[in-house]
Symmetry: C2
Subunit: 120 residues, 2 copies
Amino acid sequence: MKTKQAIEEKKFKLTSARKELLAILNKAEKPISYEDIKNRLSMDKATFYRNISKFEEENIVKSFESNDKKRYYEVQISSHAHFICNTCNKIECLSNISPIELKGYNITDMIFKGVCKNCS
Amino acid sequence: MKTKQAIEEKKFKLTSARKELLAILNKAEKPISYEDIKNRLSMDKATFYRNISKFEEENIVKSFESNDKKRYYEVQISSHAHFICNTCNKIECLSNISPIELKGYNITDMIFKGVCKNCS
DNA sequence: TTTTAAATGCGACTAAGTTGCAATTAAGTC
DNA sequence: GACTTAATTGCAACTTAGTCGCATTTAAAA
Ligand SMILES: [Mn+2]
Ligand SMILES: [Mn+2]
Ligand SMILES: [Zn+2]
Ligand SMILES: [Zn+2]
C-alpha cells in the first residue's frame, strides 16, 4: 500500500483530515470530485485540495478533468482507462482495456468519451 | 463544408465576428482555447463563447477540456484522437489511431495522456 | 512534557466561463 | 437603396472550482 509507505518514509503527517480523506477514497468505486463528497467531509475545502494534491505528489492518488470543469480523483491501485458520458457526465472505470502503444509517446492514461448505455 | 451548409440552412447569421472566428479555427493546426487567440480576436469574450457554442451545436466544431482547466476547440473535419502532455500541457492531434471498439459503448472521442517527447 | 515544522480553517482572491440587458446588425422584404 | 425585425453583440456583473496568505492548531520527535 502506497499510503503506508509514504507515511513510513515521513513524507507527511497522518492527520485526522488525511485519515478521513483516505477512508473515503478507498471506499469509492469510481473517481470522485470535491463536490461529490463535500457534505461528508469535516475538513475545509482548502484542506481537501491541499491534501489531495499531496497524495497525488506521493502517487497515492491520480486525477483528471472531466467534461464538467471538475477534477476527479481516485486511489492509484491498478492503472485503467475511463469512460466519460458526454450527455450525463457519468464516469466509468474500464478495467479490461489494454494500454495503447504509440512510438515516441509514453502514454499513462486513456480517456474515452461518448454516450453511455443509459443515455443512448 | 459544414459551415456553408449551416449558413444555407439559415441556422445562423454570418456576422463579422463569426467570419473572423471561423478563419482562425480553419487555420489552426491543433485545438485552441480562448486564451490562445484572445489577442487576435476583435470580439468580446462573451461573443467568442456564444459563437463557439453555436458552432458546436451545429457540429462545425468539437471541444474537450484539457489538464489546465481550459476548453479547447477545433473544426470538426476528420475524427481523431488527441494526446495531452501531463508536464507541459501541450496538445497533439493523433491522426493514425483507429477507434476503439467497446461493446455497450458508443465511443466518439479518445484522449491519451502522458509525457511528450520534449518533456521526457 | 516540550518543541517545532507541518497542517489546518478561514476569508479573500483568481480565472474560465456565463448571463442580463440595451444597443447594433445581418438579411429578408419592399 | 431604405425599412423591418429577430439574431447578435459589447459590456459589466456574476458564478464557481480551485488557490493563497496568515494566524492558530497539531502530529510526532526529542
Ligand atoms: Mn477509475
Ligand atoms: Mn485535433
Ligand atoms: Zn450518460
Ligand atoms: Zn510535454
